[in-house]
């Protein structure tokens, strides 16, 4: 059978790749994709912990449900922001959207 640590290491790798995407990509949609990868890594962890450590209680699964809902909300609002910014500035390069910096 598969040891729990394999899942945890896999999730850590997925999380790091997502983080790299978030930090390095210019395109705002690509940044959202990175965030999705990170949320997925969290979900893998939650389900793995549920299965290995406490399958009698549903806490892990319920948390995963909430993560799904959060991911959906995040994408909906994030992409709406991207489209709105694109309409005004004709750009979705994250570095260009710096009005709030000053």
């Amino acid at each position: 059978m598969i040891p729990l640590s394999w899942y945890l290491i896999f999730a850590a790798a997925l999380f790091s790749i997502g983080l790299f995407g978030v930090l390095s990509r210019k395109n705002a949609v690509a940044i959202l994709m990175g965030v999705e990868l990170m949320l997925n890594a969290v979900n893998v962890n939650l389900i793995a912990f549920w299965r290995y450590l406490s399958f009698e209680t549903m806490a892990g699964q319920v948390f995963a449900v909430i993560v799904f809902a959060v991911a959906a909300s995040e994408v909906a609002v994030g992409l709406a922001l991207v489209i709105s910014v694109y309409r005004r500035r004709q750009s979705i390069v994250a570095d260009d959207i710096n009005l709030l910096k000053y």
């Binding site: 449900v65 799904f68 809902a69 959906a72 909300s73 909906a76 489209i83």
Partner: protein, 118 residues
């Protein structure tokens, strides 16, 4: 429980084999004489004008947005439906409430004119 998924997993591996085979046979049998004119993209018989990446209406996005939110809600009602026998009446009503909250969203989108196509 994993035994149930064995069939699905094998299906996942083997189902594409049939269409892939159907695509490989013409590679052997069919003629292949491409020329630039033949491989032009189709546009009502005239030459292709402009870029393929035309701008799309934002409405497509709006519908996808409403769909996404509804989809998430409905999927999480399925375990509730399976557990129906173990639920008291108030559990059922709470589940209904869960979906009715979204109806507010639908009404809002409707009022706001998101669901119009123009």
């Amino acid at each position: 429980m994993l035994n149930d998924w064995l069939f699905v997993g094998l299906m996942l591996v083997m189902a594409p084999i049939f269409p892939i085979a159907a695509l490989i046979i013409p590679r052997i049998l069919a003629p292949k004489k491409p020329n630039p004119l033949k491989s032009q993209t189709y546009e009502c018989g005239i030459e292709t004008v402009g870029d393929t990446w035309i701008q799309f209406k934002a409405q497509y996005y709006n519908f996808a947005l409403v769909f996404l939110v509804f989809d998430v809600e409905i999927v999480f009602l399925f375990p509730w439906a399976v557990a129906f026998n173990q639920l008291p009446l108030y559990g059922v009503i709470v589940g209904i409430l869960f979906i009715e909250v979204l109806v507010i969203g639908l009404i809002y989108a409707w009022r706001k004119g998101i669901l119009e196509w123009f």
